[in-house]
């Protein structure tokens, strides 16, 4: 009888210690794991206090639809339009990227280029980014819509996009 009682107690102690060890191991394993996305989400949510949110929204309301870069790109387009009409160092910078054939086409079809540049200026407000490559792609499609053949449109768009970067850099 005493032997049976001893066996029962022993089995209970072994069972209890193995459960507690299992709990420790899983707790250690959990601490070694990288934080789950749920925890990160909670952390990122707590970083925005009501005061910081209100400060952010006040800044957003102060900022115009396009920032300083958008404004400068618009100024650069206006400068290029004047240069195409009147000449000068900006026009020289554009023309230096052309071959003889493209330069001749450009000189004879200024009105088509100006039309595309006017549309490019309107597009700036809605543009998601204003990189040289985005401007080049957009201007190429606008030039083609304005009737410039594809043999010339890409090199004209490329030269003007380079000139915008040169002006605002």
């Amino acid at each position: 009888m005493l032997k049976k009682l001893f066996c029962g107690v022993l089995a209970g102690v072994i069972a209890f210690s193995s459960f507690s060890m299992l709990g420790n191991t899983s707790a250690k394993a959990a601490s070694n794991l990288p934080p789950s996305p749920v925890v990160q989400k909670e952390k990122s949510e707590t970083t925005y206090s009501p005061s910081s949110l209100s400060a952010q929204s006040s800044i957003e309301s102060e900022v115009q639809p396009y920032g300083a870069k958008g404004f400068m790109v618009k100024l650069a387009i206006q400068t290029i339009k004047v240069a195409i009409d009147k000449g000068g160092s900006v026009l020289n910078y554009i023309i230096k990227w052309f071959d003889k054939d493209t330069a001749s086409y450009f000189t004879k079809n200024k009105s088509k280029v100006i039309k595309a540049l006017n549309q490019l200026e309107d597009w700036i407000d809605d543009a998601s980014d204003l990189t040289q490559s985005t401007i080049k792609t957009k201007l190429n499609s606008l030039l083609r819509s304005a009737g410039v053949p594809s043999t010339y449109s890409l090199s004209i768009a490329d030269a003007i996009a380079r000139t915008i970067t040169w002006l605002i850099l």
Binding site: T47, V63, A68, M72, A76, L167
Partner: protein, 68 residues
Amino acid sequence: MRKIYEYISIDEKKEVVEKLKADLKELEQEINQNKDSFSKFVCEILYSTRDKWRLEIEELENEIKANS
């Protein structure tokens, strides 16, 4: 200084200053709130842009003051 400043009026320069100030405020807030999550490389770019904009605003304001 940017080449475009050679071709624009004082009023346009004043508008550029306003927009640069707004962008600078937004950039400073972005740096203060999230600098720990950016890499060292990105932080260097953000800090140099901030310094560049501060200097640009100062130089433009001096130019505006000298011409008004």
